[in-house]
């Protein structure tokens, strides 16, 4: 028999209720556990060769481009092709000592391996052109002068101003015109006759060209004549008009003269004013206080304008930002390949390294070498550090002898594509554990 629930003692029923809730929650919670995420395949470390090249793009860009062009807003004023380091070495190269000179050198301190003479770096042609350009720019282009009026027209205008001679002049011009017309007609006829005679003598294929030339000449002559006629007619008309409207011309002339005078006056006043302003500006500049960086700072601090950019510059405008590239472009040695190559070259040097010391220096010599693609030394090994310890030099020299003797180094062909990554080598010489 079930006991009736005594609400005065709620512990038992409450416990049952809570246990029921817990069991139900457990059923629901554990019945459908969240599935595990599918494990992504691990990326081999060796594949990630150079992340910096992949992340070279702009974060704000929306798309990925195969190459990551630098965003350029405007073309740079001056594109410098060579870096300052190259310019620094572009001095007169020292003539390398000959073998004979080297062998009779007595100073052991100067027994550094001879450095290969740097060939003079040619000055980029762009810079030469740029150097040549300023004189061109400096020389001002010829200012086009207005076509000068024909002397005769000028004299006619001047003559027209003299009232008594105007009519005579007009008659003379008319006679001269008639004579000129007659002369030119005769000359044209003569020319036409001559050309006809010449045309008959020349070959058939030249006839067309000659005729064309003659036509052009005739046309030109006719055009010139027409122009002369027109000019003469104009002059005559002008002379007559001027003679008839003398007063009007005089008035106009006077008005023009007054206008010119007024303009000249105005120019003089403007020039004077400009000179006065320049003088004032110069005086103001002279009276201006000395350069005060704090004043600039105060002005900048007082400004509430947001900083603006004038835009990046480059060789050509490129307004397309890129998010980066999907793959890196540089061929880099993977860590395991690098370690293998280090061991390979180290073993080769070690085989040639004959130790001639009985103690190790505390500072270990570091020798820099540069290899060609075929494993040969490009230049003499170079010691990159120094120490006053007597055995330092002995260890360094023994190492450099070994490096020279072992050249050329055997580099497997599979490393050829990474040449830029292994051509420069630093060798740290540490004979400690042998001594």
């Amino acid at each position: 028999m079930l006991k009736r629930i005594d609400w005065k003692e709620p512990g038992f029923p409450l416990s049952i209720a809570l246990h029921l809730v817990a069991v139900l929650w457990g059923l629901f919670a554990f019945s459908s556990p969240p599935p595990f995420d599918a494990a992504n395949e691990a990326i081999p470390v060796e594949v990630v060769s150079d992340v910096s090249e992949m992340t070279r793009g702009s974060k704000k860009a929306e798309k990925v481009l195969p190459n990551t062009p630098e965003q350029v807003d405007k073309v740079a004023d001056l594109r410098k092709e060579n870096d300052p380091g190259q310019e620094k070495t572009d001095t007169a190269s020292i003539k390398p000592p000959t073998k004979q000179e080297e062998t009779v050198k007595d100073d052991p301190a100067a027994a550094e391996p001879p450095q290969a003479a740097q060939p003079p770096i040619p000055t980029p042609p762009a810079r030469q052109e740029a150097a040549k350009e300023p004189p061109k720019e400096a020389s001002q282009p010829p200012i086009p002068t207005p076509p000068s009026k024909p002397v005769k027209a000028a004299s006619a205008v001047a003559a027209a101003q003299d009232e008594p001679d105007d009519k005579r002049e007009a008659e003379i011009i008319r006679e001269q015109q008639k004579k000129d017309q007659a002369k030119k007609a005769e000359e044209a006829r003569k020319l036409a006759d001559q050309k006809k005679a010449e045309e008959a003598q020349k070959l058939a294929d030249q006839k067309a060209a000659e005729q064309k030339k003659a036509d052009e000449a005739r046309k030109e002559e006719a055009r010139k004549l027409a122009e002369q006629k027109k000019q003469l007619a104009d002059k005559i008309a002008a002379a007559e008009a001027k003679a008839e409207h003398e007063a009007k011309l005089k008035a106009e002339k006077l008005a023009e003269q007054r206008k010119k005078e007024a303009e000249a006056k105005a120019k003089a006043v403007a020039a004077a004013k400009k000179a006065a302003e320049d003088k004032k500006r110069q005086e103001a500049a002279e009276k201006a206080p000395a350069f005060d960086p704090n004043a600039i700072r105060n002005k900048l601090m007082a400004s509430h304008e947001r900083p603006t950019s004038s835009g990046s510059t480059g060789a050509q405008v490129s307004r397309t930002p890129s998010l980066g590239t999907r793959t890196a472009t540089g061929a880099k040695l993977s860590p395991s390949d690098r370690e293998a190559l280090v061991g390979m070259i180290g073993d080769q040097i070690r085989r040639c390294w004959n130790l001639t010391v009985t103690s190790a220096p505390s500072v270990k010599p570091v020798v820099h070498i540069e290899l060609a693609a075929n494993g040969e030394l490009v230049a003499a090994p170079r010691l990159t550090n120094s120490s006053g310890e007597p055995n330092f030099r002995a260890v360094a020299e023994s190492g450099m002898r070994a490096i020279r003797q072992c050249s050329p180094y055997r580099i497997p062909a599979k490393y050829a594509q990474y040449f830029d990554d292994w051509k420069n080598i630093n060798v740290r010489l540490d004979p400690s554990d042998l001594l």
Partner: protein, 445 residues
Amino acid sequence: MNHFKMPAFLQQYSVSSALGAMLFVALSTAAHAELNINLSGGNFQPMPIAITDCVNEGQATPVASVITNNLSRSGLFQPLPKEQFPERISNFDVPPQFDAWKARGAQALVTCRVSNDGGRLKAEFRLFDVFANQQLVGQQYSTDPASWRRVAHLISDAVYSRITGEKGFFDSRVVFIDESGPAKHRRKRLAIMDQDGANFKALSGSDMLVVTPRFSPNSQEITYMGFPLSGGDPKVYLLDVSRGSREVVGNFPNMSFSPRFSPDGRRIIMSLEQNGNANLYAMDLQSRSMTRLTTTAAIDTSPSYSPDGSQIVFESDRGGTQQLYLMPAGGGSAQRISFGEGRYSTPVWSPKGDYIAFTRQKGGSFGIGIMKPDGSGERILTEGFHNEGPTWAPNGRYLMFFRDPGGQGGPKLFMVDITGRVQVQVPTPNYASDPAWGPLLSETR
């Protein structure tokens, strides 16, 4: 299961240099895309060197053969046989054919010329780095023709010094005990010779038994203990080699032994026996005053100064067995520095100050070893039936000692370098023991 494996190039060097190497790799990797190789190890093979016959201009001396012998005995050089020479140097002032010498494997080349310069011997030499195509050093000497061997030793020192960065040791002499006759009636006398065994000369007659000769560090003086065969106590003697004069250093009632010079040559430190014990005393050679340095009921002997003269290392049985102790040069509390197995004796401080050489008796064998002055870095260089009496070369890189094979034979002198890799016998006309290597002749008063 994967185990972490240290890269091969990291396994090859000690922890002390590992940090430097890792820093080198880390820094340079961060700076450039360059390969960084930490080259440890190398070959302890002698360096191939060619020493050509000297161009002879009126002075026929085998200078080149002495140089060849010296460099070969140092163990650091391997002279090329003459048959392999690609050219004969007939003009000293013409550069050699480097490519031809390279092809024969020579890494260095020595050429020389000897000539008669108004009755004096003029010797010149040049040392070339064959692979660098350049001269490393070139010097000339002018001396009496009878001293041509010294010139050869000086040239050897110059070559050795230029290649190794260490001071040479060829222009030096050795005093030792010349032993002759059957084992039961062995005749022992003091003798001197060049370090290569040449110019042997006896310094004492048959009337005295001589032991523990010691060279002055800066002069041609020798101190030793002599037992007059006619009777009497053994005494400590002082011999001037150049003048041939000999004197007794003090007249002590009991036995005095194991004398050795201080670094400045002004004092002699020795043991004096009293009532069955032996204590250390220092005597000023000018005033002949004695200073007692130890007061123990034990046998303190074989003292040797540090190069700066501030400390003394000696052997003592105060702890029960023969061990090495260190104390201030003026006396005071001594500190034990040898803790290995066996008994330690005959300590000698290196002229460079970096090591103390000793004889260690362990089981039935005697070994020659070195340790750092604080007792660390102990290294046994050679071990056998009987090796004893180490003495340092002037450059502190080689030790000479005597080795007695036992039986009817007698002791012979040997030379070992501080790495233990080079070990050669020193030629002597008879049996020889107790060598003491003198300073460079060019550095003595």
